[in-house]
């Protein structure tokens, strides 16, 4: 760089775009101004071990694990101009002591070393201190297998302890809330749980007491950790200090298979990971999606799952004869259903779909209504109070999808007419899919008894199944593949983590076979797989153009403008704009 006046220096080129040049382990990269050093290293694909830092929480910098060596150009002598080398950078003067990379931001011409003797010695030292009072009870610890302390101990630790004194005793197995157990000896004082409860859940009930090695995380006197977002602290905890009562001692994490899916308990459609072994669900954890649920999900949704091994699951088709349900095969159940439906006039049949069905299933429900010629097609509205966090005011997971597929801005509007029709006798047959009519739909036992024919698809043995003349066993959300649209208009994919128990099938398959049975068409012409169906759906509904199942991206795609937003994400955006979090 002979003449700086004619050629621009890298620092000027970067500054034009609001970037700065940083040298990370010998390589120069450009990162946005104000980036944390740890994030800059992530961009450079250099792993920096850390415990307390979390991009959605403030950075107190108290675990000291993310130490790196930093350097800046030396300040020129008075009157001297800075000197640039051939590449246009200044020489870096390395600092003799490390800095934490989580709470420091990058600067122009900064150098970062994520390895080297200084950094490695520092990490070894930090690891040794963290393990001094650690009980090393990995064989009974639920975190084993996904524990940062285990991982970093292997990756960056000394491998042995020089600590000969007695370890400090702290409270163990403390019930700090209805769903959470605390083991203080395992805690490494990262304060993630404290910050989460304070900053995100907005219910500060956790804090540190005592000093030095006696520091203990605990619950405020007279309080308990019963917040509906409390279990997120268990996910956040990098060690096994906080464990979930629900998952406690159920299964070691290395046996579990992870399946990415979405939550179907409300319109938010929080992104989740379903952890299974065999055909049993062991836990559900949130999956990061900054446009939907950030890194969190409510406890009420994560603990409330339907597992194929549950006792109340329906595993065979049932036909009621003389008031008693008898098990039968698919063929005879479908035939009985189509024969029974043919006894009624099209106007006498109503179809009640569910707002928690996938787009594909709703599309099949619509096709069934067309096939039968029935105009009574409705979903069941589920209005509830939003918690101003992640739980939406819409209790249905896929109301937006129903709007798009039924081409109706109020897909539940027909329900009142259907109920009235049932009561005045003009509707004599009802097909209900994945809905318990006695709950949100507002039917009473008398209404169901008044019906001449009730066909229902249910995954669980509920009162509607009990009252039905023909019951088809359906699949639970964790056993389905399909897509849903959340309240913000984001098309997201469900993946099947388990297979349905016994004879149970996905709703779309059941409806397809019912349609074939009614129309008498050859089976080959109907969609043979969920993928084939999703392609038909994508070509039939303009909003889903090109968005068949395999084309939906992992974090979903916006397909509709709904005007809804998620309150928790709004607050997160504000905190990010204020510079409180990295985001």
């Amino acid at each position: 760089m002979s003449d700086p006046t004619t050629t621009q220096l890298p620092k000027d080129l970067a500054a034009e775009n609001g970037m700065v040049n940083v040298q990370i382990d010998g390589h120069w990269i450009q990162v946005p101004r104000g980036t944390r050093m740890i994030e800059a290293c992530k961009i450079a694909e250099k792993e920096i071990p850390h415990y307390c830092y979390h991009s959605k929480l403030s950075s107190p910098g108290n675990c000291r694990m993310c130490l790196v060596q930093m350097g800046m150009p030396p300040r020129p002598a008075p009157g001297a101009e800075p000197e640039y080398n051939d590449d246009g950078y200044q020489e870096i003067g390395w600092m003799p002591r490390p800095v934490i990379s989580c709470a420091n931001t990058v600067a122009e011409n900064m150098g970062i070393r994520t390895s080297g003797e200084l950094v490695e010695k520092c990490r070894e030292g930090v690891m040794e201190f963290l393990l001094i009072n650690h009980p090393l009870d990995c064989p009974i610890c639920d975190q084993a297998g996904e524990c940062s302390l285990q991982e970093f101990s292997v990756g960056y630790g000394k491998g042995q302890s020089r600590f000969k004194e007695d370890k400090i005793k702290k409270p163990k197995n403390v019930k700090i809330g209805p769903r959470i157990r605390l083991d203080d000896e395992r805690c490494i004082m990262c304060s993630r749980c404290i910050r989460f409860m304070d900053e995100v859940a907005d219910e500060p009930v956790l804090g540190f007491s005592e000093r030095g090695t006696h520091t203990t995380v605990g619950i405020f006197p007279g309080k308990e950790l019963d917040n509906n977002y409390g279990l997120n602290t268990v996910d956040l905890c990098p060690v096994g200090a906080l464990t979930s009562n629900d998952f406690r001692f159920q299964m070691r994490t290395w046996f579990l298979k992870e399946t990415d899916s979405i939550d179907t308990h409300c319109g938010t459609g929080a992104n989740i990971t379903i952890w299974t072994r065999g055909n049993k669900i062991f836990r559900i954890t949130p999956r990061q999606n900054d446009e939907v649920n950030s890194c969190w999900m409510p406890d009420s949704h994560r603990l409330n799952y339907i597992c194929p091994t549950d006792e109340d699951r329906l595993t065979a088709c049932l036909i009621k004869a003389d008031g008693v349900h008898e098990e039968t095969c698919w063929e005879s159940a479908l035939e009985a259903a189509s024969e029974a439906l043919k006894q009624f006039d099209a106007s006498e049949i109503a179809i009640i779909a569910s707002g928690s069905q996938t787009n594909e299933e709703l599309f099949m429900m619509l096709t069934l209504a067309t096939e039968l010629g029935s105009e009574h097609l409705s979903i069941v509205a589920r209005d509830q109070a939003s918690d101003n966090m992640l739980i939406s005011s819409d209790g249905n997971a896929n109301s937006t999808g129903a709007k798009l597929i039924f081409q109706n801005s109020a897909p539940s509007s027909q329900l009142a007419n259907i109920l009235e029709g049932v009561r005045n006798g003009s509707i004599k047959a009802v097909i209900a899919a994945s809905e318990n009519l006695l709950e949100a739909a507002g039917f009473s036992n008398e209404d169901l008894e008044a019906l001449e024919l009730l066909i229902s698809i249910n995954s669980q043995a509920n009162a509607t199944a009990q009252a039905s003349d023909i019951v088809f066993p359906g699949a639970a959300p964790a056993e389905k593949r399909g897509s849903m649209v959340n309240i913000t208009g984001r098309l997201q994919r469900l993946n099947a983590a388990c297979i349905p128990p016994g004879d149970a099938r996905s709703d779309w398959e059941i409806i397809r076979d019912l349609i074939l049975s009614i129309s008498g068409e050859v089976a080959q012409e109907a969609p043979q797989s969920i993928d084939a169906l999703s392609k038909i759906l994508a070509s039939s509904i303009p909003e889903f153009e090109g968005k068949h199942l395999t084309a939906i991206s992992d974090l979903g795609d916006i397909v509709a403008e709904t005007g809804h937003s998620i309150p928790l994400l709004k607050r997160e955006a504000e905190r990010k704009a204020n510079g409180e979090i990295v985001g």
């Binding site: 090393l136 064989p139 084993a144 197995n173 001692f249 159920q250 299964m251 070691r252 046996f255």
Partner: protein, 188 residues
């Protein structure tokens, strides 16, 4: 490669007749037969014989005393001198087991149990002996010194279910093992 020509040895007339050799052999056999009838077979004592010849009359007679220390028999669970069941159901043996013979359902120790601080123990622990290959990996991987391959080797049963050792039976065969590391003592 050089070809080596081998010439047959020249046999004498007596050798060609075979008969003297047969008599010689019969004599050795006869000598042993007489010895065994008198109950004085060579090496009979060390083989723990029935006294008639050197044949061991299994299963009345067994060679169990001669099994080496490192013998790998049936995997079992052990308790220690404090009468504590050592297994904490970490499930590492289940993970490492090559033929997937081990199935564990973990459980929590009640808070009124004297060993409540261990927190965890197996609710169910099954080893399917029709699957087990006696490789000893479970013993090697166990971080609690709870599973040991004992010298029992004759597992029999009339049904497949008989061949599954449940927790109770595993502790029965395993018995008490002393001199192990006691990491659940008060001072670690």
């Amino acid at each position: 490669m050089a070809t080596i020509k081998v010439t047959r040895p020249k046999l004498s007339l007596l050798e060609k007749l075979y008969f003297p050799s047969i008599v010689k052999g019969m004599f050795v056999t006869f000598k042993h037969a007489v010895r065994s009838l008198r109950g004085k077979s060579i090496g009979g004592d060390s083989l723990n014989t029935s006294g008639l010849g050197v044949t061991m009359q299994y299963p009345e007679q067994k060679w169990d005393d001669h099994l080496p220390e490192y013998y790998r028999g049936v995997p079992t669970l052990v308790t220690d001198e404090q009468d504590r069941e050592r297994c904490v159901s970490c499930q590492l043996c289940e993970f490492i087991c090559p033929p997937k013979a081990i199935a564990i359902i973990p459980g929590e120790i009640d808070s009124d149990d004297p060993w409540a601080k261990v927190e965890k123990r197996p609710k169910e622990f099954d080893i399917d002996m029709t699957r087990c290959i006696y490789c000893g990996m479970c013993e090697e991987v166990c971080p609690e010194q709870a599973i040991f391959l004992r010298k029992d080797y004759a597992m029999t049963g009339l049904t497949r279910a008989d061949m599954v050792n449940d927790k109770k039976r595993l502790y029965e065969i395993g018995g008490v093992r002393t001199g192990l590391v006691n990491k659940w003592n008060d001072i670690k």
